[in-house]
Amino acid sequence: MEVFINLLVNGVSTGLLIFLLAAGLTLIFGLMSVLNFAHGGLFVWGAFSGAWIFTETNSFLLAIAGAILIGMGLGWVMERFLIRPVYGNHVRQLLITLGGMLILSESIKIFWGPNPIRVNMPGWLEGSYQFDGIIIIKYRVFVIVIGLLLYLALWLLLRHTQIGLMIRAGVMDKEMVQALGINVKGLFTFVFLLGAALAALGGALLAPYSGVVFAEMGMQYAILAFIVVIIGGMGSLQGSALASLIVGVAGAFAAYFMPDLSLALNMLLLVIVLLVKPTGLLGEKGSAV
């Protein structure tokens, strides 16, 4: 029972971290039809800049805020100079965002060197909770709470604000949204910055969670996020949340019981979902939430 609950908590917390990366990815794809392979680069920049600010200032909140700002800054540059010139051209998007991923990962080494960096846990999040002999690490609970709050905030944004209404309409029919006087390019930028902020936040939260960060981790997590986005249904926020939990929990159990099959299990899940429901678990045209 202890093992089961621990694996479940690990899986849910890892799943919610993947969700932070996948949420931006799925909204960017849904609204802008852009498969952004460079998204993992924003995640790794969030992890390194957050770890660096935390080491320098000893303030975890400042580290998170700084990582988000740096992620948004990089996201703005990426959207303005890499993505915008290739809207509508999927082959060029694929090449340019893969290139962007490499540039972001390699540029990490210019600032922080080629070696992995150790990251400490903030003091107030160290330790664990104990219930009936079951030990749950405090930081994982923190990640779960933040992940759930962010999911709720995103859901509220999409469901109950005017900009959310515009985004949902834009996912369904970009042209018609423009015909209603809405600046769709501005909407693209907003969604891209939102996605960049979430990716960077995910990276900053992951750093103390894994205890070590390295430049190549962006691609590793981006692959998981892509699997999640496809399983959940491209463009669907709820689908991504559900798929993140499935992938996170399945990954945690697989890593414990059959560690060699961990990544293969995710691929198997992907194949099964694509065979049974090619649009993904909750994916359908015209659904952003």
Binding site: Q162, L165, M166, R168, A169, M172, D173, E175, M176, Q178, A179, L180, G181, I182, N183, V184, K285, G286, S287, A288
Partner: protein, 234 residues
């Protein structure tokens, strides 16, 4: 007085030369109908006005202001409401959400316009919380027209509204457009001559990307030769 004036529009879609010097004007308070066979360039004319397929040469003036170089969202904000051929329904949004979205960037008295649309199309009120994708074909057309009217301010571009509708729905649509004419100007693309000839004031006929005939609708009804040659009506 011309509310909308197109002067020598030339539009290409990839390598195809679709509009080949289209000039026309739409009088304020009128229903002007643009006829033509499939592929004549009617939809491209509306899309060029809206900036989706901008013309390479020529100008579009709305309220005497050149709007041909503006982006679509800025053209819309000038007061032009647009109903595309496929209706452009946001299938996952409710009727309420769709009409609220139409108000977001609209100029003018949006509340009054909304109220009037709900009087004109009571089904929209009835299915207020229903997803737009679940409405019938006729209801979707009503929603698309109401959305364009609420969003626009003075001019509606409507692309083949009778397409795929039952005769009863076409009748209702005609009555609604006639009522709307009292409050807005309409440029209507239509292939249903019977319907359009009953509500239109002026007409233009397009063929191979050019305007080949224009005039008063009353005159076209009498001109059997033109009707047969360009519209296939015996």
């Amino acid at each position: 007085m011309s509310l909308l004036k197109l002067d020598n529009l030339e539009t290409y879609l990839e390598q195809y030369h679709i509009l080949q010097g289209v000039s026309m004007s739409v009088e304020e308070g009128s229903i002007t109908v643009l006829f033509g066979r499939n592929g004549a360039g009617k939809t491209t004319t509306l899309r060029s006005i809206m900036g989706f397929n901008p013309s390479t040469t020529g100008t579009v003036h709305f309220h005497n202001q050149n709007i041909s170089k503006l982006s679509t969202h800025l053209i819309s904000r000038k007061g032009i409401g647009y109903v595309p051929e496929n209706q452009g329904i946001f299938s996952g949004l409710t009727v309420e959400e769709t009409l609220n979205l139409a108000k977001a960037k609209s100029a003018g008295e949006t509340e009054a316009k909304m109220e009037w649309m709900l009087q004109l199309f009571p089904d929209l009120k009835k299915f207020w919380r229903k997803k737009s994708g679940l409405l019938s074909g006729g209801q979707k057309q009503m929603l698309a027209i109401a959305r364009a009217y609420i969003n626009g301010d003075g001019l509606l571009l409507i692309d083949e509204p009778s397409k795929g509708l039952s005769p009863i729905m076409v009748e209702k649509l005609m009555e609604s457009l006639l009522k709307m004419k009292e409050k807005t100007t309409i440029l209507l693309v239509e292939q249903n001559f019977l319907m359009a000839s009953q509500i239109g004031d002026y007409f233009y006929i397009m063929d191979d990307g050019k305007i080949v005939h224009e005039g008063l609708m009353e005159d076209l009804k009498e001109d059997k030769e033109t009707c047969q040659k360009y519209l296939g009506i015996a």
